[in-house]
Subunit: 232 residues, 2 copies
Amino acid sequence: MDAPGRRTGGRRAAGHGDERARVGVPQATVVRLPTYLRALRALEAEGVATVSSEELAERAGVNPAQLRKDLSFLGSYGRRGVGYGTAHLAEQVEVVLGLQTQRRVVIVGIGNLGHALAHYGGFAERGFAVVGLVDDDPAVVGTTVAGLQVRPFEELGAVVAANDATIGIIATPAVPAQRVADALVDAGVTGILTFAPRALRVPAHVDLRTVDVASELQILAFHDTWRSGAGA
Amino acid sequence: MDAPGRRTGGRRAAGHGDERARVGVPQATVVRLPTYLRALRALEAEGVATVSSEELAERAGVNPAQLRKDLSFLGSYGRRGVGYGTAHLAEQVEVVLGLQTQRRVVIVGIGNLGHALAHYGGFAERGFAVVGLVDDDPAVVGTTVAGLQVRPFEELGAVVAANDATIGIIATPAVPAQRVADALVDAGVTGILTFAPRALRVPAHVDLRTVDVASELQILAFHDTWRSGAGA
DNA sequence: TAGATTGTTAATCGATTAACAATC
DNA sequence: TAGATTGTTAATCGATTAACAATC
């Protein structure tokens, strides 16, 4: 939704590692890059050194032409007649996504979902560290979850600042979610991932992504309903 | 992705509640319908009986023209000069999504995330009932979670059949996820929502949606990185 | 060189948005 | 009737895909 930041400098420049190649990556492409990265890391783990766009596209579940088009926005990292080096391409995708430095994440709302997220082991290897947990409930504040002490909501700003967090995850119910989003914005995060089932308003300079599990199920329900022409 | 089921019959037919109006709702529209429904139910709860496309679009975070266009695929449920009746429109959206009958959901993988999903109270009011929990781990099987006894993986088919479940949620780690997906397909579900961080392959007649939390964070990281032109 | 596969162009397709006639 | 707002058309915009020249 938000346009990626503009950069100065002129040439569009094919070639290797040129920074300007990163500007203007379409949003639809950005959304697919993590999937490509996952597939590349899996291939690496299998000991595959080189992969064709056909094979990688198959693994990622996209059209090979789309994959090549997407990768062309990053630069020119394949070899004609050969394919892409899995390790090298993975690294380039990480550079473009900005994953070479680990980002610090604060989770707000330590209920069942916040708990699950705090314990999730997959963040570290994908570029993120959970550095703070915040909750409103006096019964939860002060307890230790996944090795971190839960801090009161009033300290959110301090937690973000002290740990230099740039991303906030909202795992609260719908009602307090806007208040939490406002507080995260005030604290200076640049991105918010929310699981609360309501629309949130954030300023244009903050990136917001929403995951609503019930909405996902409702989308599945639509296809289930109209699949056979049986009707509801 | 999947085209909605085709129906017989000819006229495109404006008008009220005509069933043919539901065919050919674009996927992009279907994905937004749950958001509209959420906003409409919130307005209802606030006692608002009528809403304009401008106000509803504002609440849902979309362009008013897009909202009207989306709703036009469902039929003609507004009144010119007046707006949309919140309760009536909500009901029509539910009809289109097929939410008038509650759908039954089975969760596979009762770790932290599966636990959180099983306890989530928001499913019922949005059209879903969690009817079965399945796990592989002998230490988990047999325990009671959210009022349901966790069943062994071998019984997945029986659990789906006995409860007439049509949707499966995969909350396992990446490695077993494809095996679980295959088993869910064999059991006859028509839709799968997976949280496992890997690409899954399912037959064309099964609808698949993937939520990968780390991928969501990586998308936020991209915008964070290139926002200011500062670079990584 | 012959075969393979990328990177890119151009065509197609679908989604978004502005504008406005229809109509409450 | 006058004002408001929908439903729809048409224009724009962006994303996907096929095709192929470039080149390893």
